[in-house]
């Protein structure tokens, strides 16, 4: 079960340089043909300064940095029993190629709940606040992990 003493704990920052190719690759993997994610000129015509990151792009620094597995290990959660329950983003600035993001993961809460079938679960909420190379807030990602016990 999740280690409740870790509530409020912050983890080492994720440092992530945003590449144009990674933005395009994520859009292609989703099968999103919107030209703003793949073509700089098309993006500029639509009022962007370059190809912006798609709405779910922040999963890339989280997963490629292995940050989330590290948090899960540190909380002593059994990987095999974890479900991704919810994901939410708040966007403060667009993310563009060349941006260098710094994300600080934080365990904001760990709550025990009982499912309708009577099974106990720990609901673990992890937030990652991302800032850019100018120290400006870019986005906040909130993940709800459900550990079935």
């Amino acid at each position: 079960m999740a280690d409740k003493s870790k509530q409020g704990k912050e983890y080492p920052p994720i440092i992530w340089e945003v590449e144009r190719g990674k933005i395009r690759e994520l859009a292609k993997a989703i099968g999103d043909p919107n030209p703003i994610y793949q073509d700089r000129d098309a993006a500029i015509l639509e009022g962007y300064k370059d190809t912006p990151a798609p709405p779910t792009f922040l999963t890339v620094p989280m997963m490629w940095s292995s940050s989330m597995p590290m948090v899960i290990n540190d909380l002593k959660i059994n990987f095999a029993n974890v479900l991704h329950g919810e994901e939410e983003y708040e966007y403060y600035k667009l993310i563009y190629p060349g941006d260098v993001l710094t994300g600080i993961p934080k365990v904001v809460s760990i709550e025990e709940k009982t499912s309708k079938s009577g099974r106990k679960m720990d609901m673990v909420t992890v937030e990652i606040l991302y800032t850019d190379q100018n120290g400006e807030k870019v986005a906040k990602a909130r993940s709800l992990l459900i550990e079935r016990k």
Binding site: L26, G47, P55, T59, S65
Partner: protein, 143 residues
């Protein structure tokens, strides 16, 4: 001419244009694993998935959220999106065809921002819900 959406043109009850994705193929799980960095073998290795009691691989939840993001930003420009969240409600398997729908549930002025709030969902060809969610966007005024 840029694709533009104005606050005045959106009303509570308006429907987001539907997006249909699929039938989904395992190959897309492999592409999404590589793009996202989520290499959980539950999404790419049938033997692994069967060993944990499934029929076979399931799609990444974040891929389905990506479909919802595609549906939103083909309607409301990416630059206006302020908030986007989902709850993962069911597993998606190869062969499923996913339809993303949404509708406007609220419109309000907050400070200098003109906000629309929408609910979204993704379901398969049987009507089984995969994802429910919501988003908020701050739209420009016509004048």
């Amino acid at each position: 001419m840029a694709h533009e959406v104005y606050y005045e043109d959106i009303n509570v009850g308006d429907e987001m244009p539907e997006l249909v994705k699929g039938p989904l193929q395992k190959l897309q799980h492999v592409m999404y694993a590589g793009a996202s960095g989520d290499f959980n073998p539950l999404h790419t290795d049938d033997d692994f998935a069967k060993a944990v009691g499934l029929d076979g691989v399931i799609a990444h939840g974040m891929l389905i959220m990506g479909f919802v993001g595609q549906a939103i930003t083909q309607w409301i420009p990416r630059k206006y999106l302020k908030k986007f969240g989902v709850r993962f409600a069911g597993m998606t398997k190869p062969g499923n065809t996913i339809t993303v729908k949404g509708n406007v549930v609220d419109k309000l002025v907050e400070g200098s921002e003109n906000i629309i709030r929408c609910e979204v969902l993704a379901q398969d060809e049987n009507g089984d819900i995969k994802v429910t969610g919501h988003f908020e966007a701050a739209l420009p005024l016509k004048g």
